[in-house]
């Protein structure tokens, strides 16, 4: 592997680390569980590595390992995004039909 490729990779890593730190520090504790399942789904992107391994016919061992890896990371991608959405749907600012005047005035005050 050439030095340029290595250095480019390290640049990407360092910048992603800083950006990740900035973005993720802003996530409120309220959403820490969805954050964990979302980052987990996103890192299921290792699927792209598994796909090549499973489909490239390098040899039988690689194909079998690749197949298991594709299955495992698909579980994460599909399951991770679906469950994150299921959780996020539950977070509501206010109940849709509720005539609680006290609550709504409190909301306005805070806003």
């Amino acid at each position: 592997m050439s030095t340029e490729v290595i250095i480019a990779g390290l640049y990407v890593f360092a910048l992603a680390a800083f950006l990740g730190y900035q973005v993720i520090s802003r996530v409120p504790p309220l959403l820490h569980t969805p954050l964990m399942s979302a980052t987990n789904a996103i890192s299921g992107i290792s699927l792209v590595g598994s796909l090549v391994t499973a489909g490239a016919h390098y040899n039988t061992v690689s194909t079998v390992l690749g197949f298991i890896a594709v299955t495992a990371s698909t579980i994460n991608v599909v399951g991770g995004f679906m469950i994150t959405d299921r959780m996020l749907r539950m977070f509501k600012r206010q109940l849709p039909v509720k005539n609680d005047k006290k609550d709504s005035t409190e909301e306005q005050e805070r806003a």
Partner: protein
Amino acid sequence: MGLPIELTYLAASILFILGLKGLSHPETARRGMIFAEIGMFLAIVGTLLHREIVSYQWIIAGLIIGSLIGGAISIWVPMTAMPQRTALSHAFGALAASLVGVSEYYRHNAVELGTFKMTALSLEVLLGGITVTGSLMAFIKLQDWVRGTPITYRGQNIFNMSLLAITIGIFGYLIFDPSAHSLFYAMAGLAFVFGVLLVLPIGAADMPVVMSLMNSYAGLAAAATGFAISNNVLIIAGTLDGFSGFILSILMCRAMNRSITNVLFGAFGAEVAAAEGGSAGEMREVKGEDIAVQLAYAGQVIFVPGYGMATAQAQHSVRELANMLEARGVTVKYAIHPVAGRMPGHMNVLLAEANVPYSSLYDLEQINAEFPTTDVAVVIGANDVVNPDARDNPRSPIAGMPILEVDKARSVVVLKRGKGKGFAGIENPLFFKPNCGMLYGDAKASLIKLAGAVQNA
């Protein structure tokens, strides 16, 4: 790799970051996740065009089986079991990373790998292996298949450390001599063993830290995969995941005033029980009816949920009681400690499931000032996070841990299963305070009883 594929990867990377940025607020979170999903879709479609892929039957089989399993889990898993599901998904992610690593090593001539690629591959397999078995171990503990208390034996730390040293030694050797095949597989095997040994001595109450660490390792393993196969989107997504887990671990440790080393090697909750003497005084048991009257005529009530609320599946009953109180004009708030439950944010998700609006959920810093003006604080299956000893007694094992100061409320009710000590085996002086009453029994049953009594009050 062709330019079109690289462009889909670039788009995916940007969409992932936008997706995580959306999570900074509940209002924008779902939209953010749609961005991330589009990014993932683009990256997968782009990869399928890869010229090295010659047959699709294994890919399609894997995609279908994985989608079915992942979809089924995410539809049917109850919210209370979210920590277990997350632990499993860390294991799956790490498994995929380590298998790709093993396959890459297997198919390449060791010499052509080169030092850098070999380092990345070994790191990937090492972190991946630890995460696979460590997360499975955490899953088993969270699922209560083995007891949640730390499992310790003599010389445990020395044994674990030596094993880790050997594994890292092999790692170092492989960088200089990538052709040592048997050592590579030995390192993978040792990583699997170390994962189990690492989580074995960690108690269930420390699971939020373990979950965050495994989150971090799984991400870093994916990033290492990115280095090994020179794929930038993998480096970016893996790094984001790795740092997210890292930040969460730090937050969790800070919320317990402990270091990561102490959590990993301290076997908390095993040794401290003996060190503590009995606390003075009597615990005062109270009747549901009396509490109901207090609640019904209160100005402000704060609920403090803990893991006990999750085990009793009591979140909906909490909400019903709160509804009744709100209808009577009582202000109801919820105080969430960062390490309440078994994973970061666990309590928030459960209460959101029970339709509690997120504007009523408060963090530690936001709510502590409100306890002195609160009439009743209702503690539901929480213990250490409300233990005043953490604040008052410098010799307490949890000294310095930030707590929810419920003892400053005019009156405190603790819903507790029995008279026993908390998980960590630490005496809680809160229970002996004159303003504190104990309501024993299953949290859900107690809450339903309270709601009934409030209706009659």
